[in-house]
Subunit: 257 residues, 2 copies
């Protein structure tokens, strides 16, 4: 199975079914077939199939989820496409870097998602917080609104360039020594979210916030740990530490009461 | 006048006015404004303006010629976009090379054209013979039919990348080299070691090791946090959390004693 089969393109809250069809076509021209829909505003219609123009298979195979979290639950790398990641300070990649990073991850192997927001309003802050990095197409600031399928085309094109480069590299390396061994397997999205949930509880338990709003600290911690691309083993280690801190806090609570 | 003003995108014999509108939008997002039409099959209509979505100016300014020869008469570089330049043996460029070549020519200064053929049948042999080079978007051979506006988007994107690279080069040649943006300053070695020292104490305080040798866990945690390239602010945040966990452990100790 080619690594690109582990790269999905997730369209969130798409308004026009025609754009979904055009996105399916854009993906397929670049050898990508895994389209995923999250809560599209309208069902696929004639316009969607007409604009898919030969990519009806990609369109027909697309699963539909109710939330982005569900759509990327098994992904170890989630890249959000933003007009400008002005609100959540995620690491911001150029499309070429995004394509290379995604392919490298997919080769490990691991599941990877590119996430595209609504036509007018993009992704919500909550959705962006599920992303490990943001990719920004360097459009003209004076007129930066790419059509959804056009943005999909650019990212799919960059994934294909990364793939073609990799194919060339692997051909030139054949017979040559094999590289790096099996790295520890990366934590899944669900495992990370489980850890963040416990982290939030633990901060409460040890009275870290002291009346301050917890969102800011949690956002910074999420960013830090997502950037570190934790392994499963590391998530277990961190959760073990949190559990012991929580146990101490319970004992202290008994002491205080 | 920026050099990109000397780069025109010529659409030949376009069948669907909607595609012309979408192409205008694709160009404008990448800072390109000179659209030229050659013998479109139908006049611009409501669909064309609707899909231009903010690029009505590009659409409205587009001159219409009867033949490709007239449309590129003043150009010194004409690059034809082909699914595959199988019929006329032109030099074949990748999109990135096409973008760079076009911009370099426009800077001279000289007039440059990218030429896009009909939706189904592309450019005729006669039209290709007017081109100095061909550019091919490296699509999947199994499904290579990009939508016209999608092909325009990819080429316009490559022209913009070439332009941004050129701008960076010329800026970096002016005055001193500017470094990255105002990223938070990275934690120093001493700050990190201070944090690791406190982390070791905190793990003891919350009785994390339970008789196991502490070295293995500490080695894994060091690796994780070093990999994350912590900022000073993040080190302060993490040390604040450790302090609160230690405070709880002390309280719990009093409870236990």
């Amino acid at each position: 199975m080619p690594a690109t089969r582990r790269i999905r393109f997730v369209l969130v809250g798409t308004q026009h079914p025609g754009n979904i069809g055009a996105a399916a076509r854009a993906m397929k021209t670049m050898g990508l077939h895994r389209l995923v829909l999250v809560a599209p505003l309208r069902a696929l219609d004639e316009d969607a199939y007409r604009r898919s123009a030969g990519a009806e298979d990609v369109l027909g195979d697309a699963p539909v989820f109710g939330s982005l979290a569900e759509a990327v639950a098994d992904c170890t790398l989630v890249i959000g496409c933003t007009a400008r990641s002005r609100r959540v300070s995620l690491e911001e990649l150029l499309p070429a870097d995004g394509g290379r990073r995604a392919l490298a991850k997919a080769v490990e192997p691991a599941e990877v998602a590119f996430v595209f927001g609504r036509e007018r309003t993009g992704l919500t802050n909550e959705e962006l917080q599920l992303c490990h990095a943001a990719v920004h197409i360097p459009s003209d600031p004076a007129f930066s609104s790419l059509n959804l399928a056009a943005a999909v085309q650019v990212l799919a094109y960059e994934v294909r360039l990364a793939q073609l480069t990799q194919l060339q590299l692997s051909e030139s390396r054949q017979a040559a020594p094999q590289v790096a061994g099996p790295r520890e397997s990366a934590a899944s999205h669900a495992q990370l979210e489980g850890m963040f949930g416990q982290l939030g509880e633990a901060l409460d338990d040890i009275d870290f916030h002291k009346g301050r709003a917890p969102e800011s600290a949690m956002r910074k911690l999420r960013r830090l740990f997502l950037r570190a691309e934790l392994s499963e083993q590391e998530v277990r280690l961190l959760r073990g530490i949190l559990s012991d801190a929580q146990r101490m806090a319970r004992l202290a609570g008994k002491a205080g009461s």
